[in-house]
Structure formats: structure tokens, C-alpha cells
């Protein structure tokens, strides 16, 4: 028996018999247990709740970075292009910081803490999503730089990862030290400093982009990654409680 035969039979049955009138349908629907959202569905669903402006700002920064890399026309083309990209990389973090601080900014934290996928889970999911976005942007910058310079992709990757991870770590440290609404300003300053510092590496006596220092770059990436993971775990752990204040006696 094939599909079209099946369909014919179904059609015949429908035409031959009257369907039963449902009894107590509203009551049944009220009591029925609906399938809950899985973690995977929740994870994917959160993409639409990340503000459009975060995506747009990130893309704008990415396009600006590509434009600036292209324009870099200093004597030492390789290094200036990398410096240009390195200067933009901290701002990817700033856009992400603003997004993760949203719950606190709009007073949603308390509500989110009482849900099935609580605030800690939500924060982790947002960090992962934005982290994936930033990694894609970094990869895009790296690949573009590969075509603009004669430096290997791996080296470009670590030259961009270091300022990015440094900014991530500094902003997370500040977020854990200063729990006020001013966290955006702290993070903005840190981003600015890291960004501009990338531009002024000429002031250093040594050429940090030469191959002989690659081992230090790799070491930096390793250390910063470890610190980052540790910080994220700590933040997620501490996201469970709220500070006492007079509003709790109200």
C-alpha cells in the first residue's frame, strides 16, 4: 500500500463517518500538560531576544574594521594593518557587555531568577551566543588580514585574540568588582585603553609583532583563556542570589 492509497482511504473514512463532538474540550486543554522547551530550543530561541542593535553595532564595527585595515597605508603595511584590526577588536566586547548587562539595567534580573531557565543559565547562553558572534567576526578579520598581509593566519589569529581576551577579562573583573549601573562606563574605558594601546605599540622598544615573540603571544592566549573560563564560572555561580536591601522588608 502506498501513500496515495493511504490518502484515499483516509478521505473515504472522513466522508463516511461523522466525527464525534468533543466534550469538555476547554477543561481538558486547561489541565493538559504541554511539552516543555528543551535546553536546545531555549538556546536557539534566545537568538531573537538579543537586541537588533547589538547585531547591527557588531556588524558595523566589523565592516569598519575591514575598511580601516584596507586603508592602512603606513610604511610597514603588515604591522599597521594588524594594529588597525587590534584597535577595533575590543569594541566587539563592548557591544556584548551592553547586552549582558541588560537584565540588571532594566530591572528584569529578579524575574529571570525565578524562571525555569534562570538568570545564571540565561547569562551563560547570552555569553555563548555573543562569544560565537565575536569569534566569527574575529575569524572574518583574520581571514581578511591574511589577504592583506603576508603573515600566517595562525599568527594573525593570536595577535587579534590577545587584545580581545584581555578586554573580556578586564571587563569581567570590573563587572565582579563594581556591581553598579556604571559598569558600561568602566568597560568603555577599558576598551578604549586596550584599543588605543594597540595603536601605540610603536612606543615600545621591541617589535612585538616579530616572529621571535610568538611564543609569548601563545602563552598570553593560554593564560587569558584560562582566566576567562574561571571568571565566567564564578559569575554564573554567583548569579543565584540578590543583595539584601530595604525593599525586601517592604
Amino acid at each position: 500500500m502506498n501513500l496515495s492509497d493511504n490518502r484515499k482511504i483516509v478521505k473515504l473514512v472522513k466522508e463516511s463517518y461523522e466525527p464525534l463532538v468533543p466534550k469538555n474540550k476547554p477543561d481538558f486543554l486547561k489541565k493538559a500538560e504541554y511539552p516543555k522547551l528543551s535546553f536546545k530550543e531555549f538556546f536557539i530561541g534566545q537568538i531573537q531576544y538579543i537586541r537588533l542593535r547589538t547585531w547591527l553595532v557588531s556588524i558595523l564595527l566589523f565592516v569598519s574594521a575591514l575598511f580601516i585595515i584596507e586603508l592602512s597605508s603606513f610604511y610597514n603595511m603588515n604591522v599597521s594593518a594588524i594594529k588597525a584590526a587590534s584597535a577595533f577588536v575590543p569594541f566587539f566586547v563592548l557591544a556584548a557587555v551592553a547586552e549582558t548587562a541588560r537584565s540588571k539595567q532594566y530591572g528584569m534580573k529578579e524575574l529571570e531568577m525565578t524562571c525555569r531557565f534562570s538568570f545564571g543559565t540565561l547569562l551563560l547562553v547570552k555569553m555563548i551566543l555573543l562569544g560565537i558572534l565575536n569569534l566569527l567576526l574575529l575569524s572574518g578579520c583574520s581571514i581578511f588580514l591574511r589577504f592583506q598581509t603576508d603573515i600566517k593566519l595562525f599568527r594573525i589569529g593570536i595577535y587579534l585574540l590577545v587584545p580581545f581576551l584581555l578586554t573580556c577579562n578586564l571587563t569581567l573583573i570590573l563587572a565582579s568588582l563594581f556591581k553598579s549601573r556604571e559598569i558600561t562606563y568602566f568597560c568603555g574605558f577599558v576598551c578604549g585603553i586596550v584599543s588605543v594601546s594597540c595603536l601605540f605599540t610603536d612606543a615600545l622598544v621591541i617589535d612585538i609583532y616579530s616572529a621571535k615573540y610568538d611564543v609569548y603571544w601563545l602563552l598570553s592566549v593560554g593564560v587569558l583563556m584560562l582566566v576567562l573560563v574561571q571568571k565566567i564560572v564564578q559569575i554564573i555561580k554567583n548569579s543565584g542570589g540578590i543583595l539584601w536591601n530595604l525593599s525586601l522588608t517592604g
Binding site: 553595532v57 569598519s64 580601516i68 586603508l71 592602512s72 597605508s73 588597525a84 584597535a87 569594541f91 563592548l94 551592553a98 563594581f178 553598579s180 556604571e182 558600561t184 562606563y185 568602566f186 568603555g188 574605558f189 576598551c191 578604549g192 585603553i193 584599543s195 588605543v196 595603536l199 601605540f200 612606543a203 615600545l204 622598544v205
Partner: protein, 411 residues
């Protein structure tokens, strides 16, 4: 007046209550301190990679040598003296095979003339560290040092700049006013300060953008705008107080920061050489008749006004945008992107506009560049135009910010 002062006091109070402000100011001052000493940290190495001393010791040695030449007039007699010293060195060095001995010979005979050689090298060869040329100088060459300098300056602006006839004529006038012969003094401190001013300005602008972004934007996010705008002074004195606070805060922080930086550098390098001509920064490129202290004064004024210009932009954006975050992002772009861009000089109009961006106003090569502003015969050099333009922009932008916040409707 008393009410206005009271309101200004409250604006400062709100500002200094923020922990982020203290963090940023501390970071800023820390960076400026680091900038002053960064070049003196670490060791010096010989050809084999062996440590020979610290950078600070090297600076001290250079300073000692340079001070020995202090007060000497750079004239034909001094050039001849330098020439003879180098002749003696080169002839003796040919016979020495040991590098260490050669190094010692160099230190004993010609090292003390290095500062003068740098100056001569720029004039006679166009590069900073040529040495062999000195052996070929004739008596005429020595006597014509300043004419050669002037010719090189003229050649540079004719070949590499897109100047109008009026600009060239003006530059020739300035050239005539340069006081010669030059008198040499150790001036590393002033030159170091001049180099650091640009990088310091960048950090300063970033910091001020963050500190002042909430001046109006913070009222929107904290929902105080309704209460402020419905109060007696909400549409007049309060806005004035905010703008005055922004301006005075900017001037205060900038002045203190630049002052501390100057003091630190003078303590480390010494205050010698304040009378040195500005040409010591770049002999063939700068033709203005200033000494170091005059040039630094003009440069600092341009930096302060450029920073004020940026603050005015921050105030306007803060009044227009509903959140300080947007202000910070836009201002960062306004500060950082022009550092990469380079509008080719043949597009004079675009290039002139580009050089009036706040960050460009803090670049020494822009402040003292050959290009001028004006129409036909009425032209002024950039170092005069920048402060005037910045001042006008500050006034206009602040008036605009005032109107924007006053007209804001709470929705």
C-alpha cells in the same frame, strides 16, 4: 548667580559620586605617568645581546654629553670642529679591528657631537643618522649651513606639498623671521613632552567622552528628565550648569594632567633647551619662528581647545541620544577612526576639513603644518586657525546642546 553656582556644585557632586569617574581618572593619570618613563625602562644591549646598562643610564650619559655642548652656537666653526673629530675617528677606526676598541674610540672622540650631527645630517642629507657626509663638507658648505637649511625647507614644500602661491609667500615670510644662528642646548625633555602630547590627548579624549556622556543622557536613563524639566530652573540654569560643569571639568582635568606630565618630564630630563628653536623638532619641515616653550604653549592651547571641542560634541550627543552608551560608541569612533584615515593632500578642501577633527587638532605635524586656512590673500596658519575654529565650534555646539535638552519632550 548664586543659584547657578549651587547647581554647578550639584552637577560636580553627581559626577564625583560615580566610582567609574575615579577609576577612569586614576587610570588616566597612571597612563600619563607611565608614558613619561616608558622609554627609560629596560636595559640597553650591545651587538652580542649582552646587557650594557639601563635606558635611564643611557639617557643620563646622553644628557651629560649634550650639556657639554650647551650654549654653543651652531656655526661654521662648530661644524668644522665636528668634521675634524669625525675625520680623526674614521681614520683611526680603519686601523682597529676590535669592535670594543672601536666603540671606545667612538665614545672618546665623536659621541659628544651626536646631537649636532643629527642636526647637520638633516640639513645636508635629509636623514637623521648619516655620518659619512661630514667628511665631504667644504668651507662653503659650512658657511652656507643656514642657506642650505632654508633651501631644503623650500624644496620640501615645493616638491611634497600642494601649496597655493599665497601660502608659499607666507611661509617665506616666516622663514625670514627664524633667528639664526641656532644656539644648541639639551632639549630632550621638551621634545619628549611634545611627542607624548598626542598620545596623551587620545587617552584624555576617550576618558572625557566616558565621564561626560551621562551629563544629559544620564538624566534620561535615570528618568530624572521629567522632574528636572518641570522645575523652575530646569529649562535654563540647570542646563547652563551642566554645560559649564562639562567645560570647566574638561579644562581642569586637561590642565592638571598636562601640567603633571610636564612636571614629571622636566624632573626626569631637565628643563634645559626651552629657548631652542622649534626647528629642532624637524629641521626641514617646520618654518615657524618659535622657540620650544612658545611652540609647546601653542601646542598645549590647541590640545586643550581640541579636547573642549570633543567635550562639546559629547554634550550635544548626550542631549540628543537617549542613552550614554550610544554617545560613548560614537565618540570613540570620532576619536579612533581619523587616526587611521589619511585624506590625500591633493584634495585640499577635504584634507582641510579632516584636519579640523578633534583628534587631528592634537597632532603636532598638523598644528605646525605648511597648509593654511583662508581665502585669497587673507590666510592664517593652522596653529592660529585651530584654536579659533575650536572655540567657535565649542560655543555653537554648546548652544545647540542647550536647545536640544530644553526642547526635549518627555514621552
Amino acid at each position: 548667580m548664586r543659584e547657578l553656582l549651587n547647581l554647578i556644585k550639584f552637577e560636580y557632586y553627581k559626577m564625583f559620586k560615580k566610582k567609574s569617574l575615579w577609576f577612569i581618572l586614576a587610570g588616566l593619570f597612571g597612563l600619563s605617568m607611565l608614558g613619561s618613563v616608558a622609554m627609560l625602562l629596560g636595559n640597553t644591549y650591545d651587538m652580542e645581546g649582552e646587557v650594557t646598562g639601563t635606558r635611564y643610564e643611557e639617557m643620563q650619559a646622553e644628557r651629560k654629553n649634550a650639556r657639554a655642548l650647551g650654549g654653543r652656537t651652531i656655526d661654521a666653526a662648530l661644524i668644522q670642529e665636528v668634521q675634524e673629530a669625525y675625520r680623526s675617528y674614521f681614520s683611526q677606526a680603519e686601523e682597529i679591528s676590535d669592535e670594543e676598541e672601536k666603540e671606545k674610540l667612538y665614545e672618546d672622540t665623536v659621541k659628544k657631537y651626536e646631537p649636532i650631527m643629527e642636526i647637520l645630517s638633516q640639513v645636508y642629507t635629509g636623514s637623521y643618522n648619516s655620518q659619512e657626509f661630514i667628511l665631504d663638507l667644504t668651507e662653503d658648505d659650512r658657511n652656507q649651513f643656514y642657506e642650505t637649511l632654508k633651501q631644503k625647507q623650500k624644496q620640501l614644500w615645493e616638491e611634497y606639498f600642494f601649496l597655493t602661491k599665497e601660502e608659499e609667500s607666507k611661509l617665506l615670510d616666516y622663514q625670514q623671521q627664524i633667528k639664526t644662528p641656532f644656539i644648541y642646548n639639551y632639549g630632550a625633555g621638551w621634545m619628549r613632552y611634545e611627542i607624548l602630547l598626542y598620545s596623551l590627548s587620545v587617552f584624555l579624549m576617550l576618558a572625557l567622552a566616558i565621564c561626560l556622556a551621562p551629563v544629559f543622557g544620564g538624566e534620561y536613563t535615570s528618568k530624572m528628565d521629567a522632574l528636572i524639566l518641570s522645575s523652575k530652573y530646569g529649562k535654563s540654569k540647570v542646563i547652563q550648569a551642566k554645560l559649564i560643569m562639562a567645560v570647566t571639568f574638561t579644562i581642569g582635568v586637561t590642565t592638571v594632567l598636562l601640567g603633571i606630565q610636564l612636571l614629571e618630564i622636566m624632573l626626569i630630563y631637565g628643563a634645559d633647551g626651552w629657548k631652542n628653536p622649534i626647528q629642532f623638532w624637524s629641521l626641514t619641515q617646520i618654518v615657524f619662528p618659535f622657540n620650544q616653550i612658545e611652540a609647546i604653549g601653542i601646542y598645549v592651547l590647541c590640545v586643550i581647545l581640541a579636547v573642549l571641542f570633543l567635550t562639546a560634541i559629547v554634550s550635544l550627543l548626550s542631549a540628543k541620544l537617549k542613552s550614554p552608551f550610544g554617545v560613548i560608541v560614537i565618540c570613540f569612533m570620532v576619536i579612533i577612526i581619523p587616526m587611521f584615515l589619511d585624506i590625500p593632500e591633493q584634495y585640499r578642501m577635504l584634507n582641510s576639513i579632516y584636519r579640523l577633527l578633534p583628534i587631528c587638532m592634537t597632532q603636532e605635524w598638523n598644528v605646525f603644518c605648511h597648509y593654511m586656512y583662508g581665502i585669497n590673500n587673507v590666510i592664517v596658519p593652522t596653529y592660529i586657525f585651530i584654536p579659533l575654529f575650536a572655540l567657535a565650534a565649542v560655543v555653537l555646539l554648546n548652544i545647540w546642546a542647550f536647545k536640544v535638552f530644553k526642547k526635549h519632550q518627555v514621552a
